[in-house]
């Protein structure tokens, strides 16, 4: 009898927010996939829920590790925990380097949430960096155009896990991350990270990485987009106010704590 696939795999809202954050960090990034297609269903993996893993033979590699298997774990059997983000070679290299820094540092607490990632440094083969096993192996060449990252299934809906991944891809250092999650004042960055202050039209103009993040988040479409120049000017303020009204709030044009939280950013001030 031909098997009928009943695809139950779902994407978490947190993963969708992470995808948008990724696109706000990297100017070239575009979402390339969260939930696996029929071909993924046949192979299994972290784009596929535990419920949809293939076959009844040997269990799929994404369903056997301590932080993946359920049962005995009691986490979701319906959600994928992987994300593919395509980027230009320049951004692939930057993102892969940031993730490798975490792979290399056995003391980095962000490692506890990540299962593995596939990336490319701009030359040679793409590689898979398995944080759980501590191995690096060849990855198929499509990973020269997208980073694949899988979160351990245990953390499928854990805000801390998604925050850790965002921290990693945005280039936050281990020291900054540890200080932030422990609630102590982090080492002062030379640029303002998202979620570290309110943003408003001011004189002189507010500038920084956080402004650029917001500009990319509310950027609009081809016909009405704003520049992502990292300067909080009137057009940015108007665009932010429009975005706030779209979310049912008063359009103040000031990016405050609630707005950062809506963008999936932990507030740090």
């Amino acid at each position: 009898m031909e098997r009928m696939w009943t695809m139950t795999t779902l994407a978490t809202d947190k993963m969708k927010v992470l995808a948008r954050q990724w696109e706000a960090v990297y100017r070239s990034a575009v979402l390339s996939g969260i939930v696996g297609d029929a071909a993924h269903m046949r192979r299994g993996g972290y784009h596929v829920s535990l419920e949809d893993q293939p076959g009844k033979g040997p269990r799929n590699y994404s369903a056997v590790r301590l932080d993946d298997a359920a049962p005995p774990g009691d986490w979701s059997r319906e959600h994928s925990t992987a994300l593919d983000e395509s980027m230009s070679p320049a951004d692939m290299r930057l993102c892969t380097l940031r993730l490798i820094a975490i792979y290399n540092d056995k003391e980095d607490p962000r490692r506890q949430y990540i299962n593995a990632f596939n990336g490319w440094l701009g030359s040679g083969d793409a590689k898979r960096y398995d944080i759980v096993s501590g191995t690096v192996i060849w990855a198929s060449p499509d990973h020269k155009s997208h980073v694949h990252l899988s979160i351990r299934r245990r953390y499928w809906n854990d805000s801390s896990a998604y925050d850790a991944v965002y921290s990693a891809i945005s280039g936050e250092t281990k020291a900054q991350y540890i200080a932030r999650v422990r609630g102590v004042k982090p080492p002062l960055p030379s640029v303002h990270a998202p979620g570290t202050r309110d943003l408003r039209i001011a004189t002189p103009r507010m500038t920084g990485v956080d402004v650029r993040f917001v500009q990319r988040w509310v950027r609009g479409s081809a016909l009405n987009r704003i520049k992502d120049d990292g300067v909080y000017g009137p057009l940015t303020g108007v665009r932010v106010a429009w975005w706030q009204r779209q979310r049912g709030r008063t359009g103040t044009g000031v990016v405050a704590r609630a707005d950062w939280r809506d963008m999936g950013i932990r507030v740090k001030y």
């Binding site: 990297y26 100017r27 070239s28 939930v35 980027m87 490798i100 820094a101 290399n104 192996i137 997208h146």
Partner: protein, 112 residues
């Protein structure tokens, strides 16, 4: 071990901004290449040997809304076309305190 390795469609691009470039698609109909700086996208269809650009002038890249109005979001969720970023775009900004020394990979266990 099998892991996230896809069945790939590999070939040369013909026409459009990727003319002459080698490309990969994980999906049978080809890929959509998106240039977020220029707000344009190009569709490359797989003909069994190569990727043919369907509209060399490209299309406006809709970047808002869900998959009902946004072709790239829809393509990313369906299994016909791959979605890739424009390879010609420059890199993103890096914090000036950030050290990027990850090329020194601790890969004693590299398993080629």
């Amino acid at each position: 071990m099998d892991y996230e390795g896809a069945d790939l469609y590999t070939g040369t691009c013909i026409g459009g901004p990727m003319n002459g470039m080698e490309a990969y698609s994980r999906f049978p109909k080809g890929f959509l290449v998106c240039d977020r700086d220029a707000d344009r996208a190009w569709l490359y269809g797989w003909d069994g040997t190569a990727f043919l650009c369907t509209h060399p002038a490209g299309m406006i890249l809709l970047d808002e809304g869900d998959e009902t109005v946004n072709s790239r979001q829809r393509a990313a969720r369906e299994s016909d076309y791959d979605v890739i970023a424009a390879p010609w775009l420059p890199g993103s900004d890096v914090g000036d305190q950030e050290r990027l020394d990850g090329e020194d990979v601790d890969d004693d266990n590299t398993g080629y």
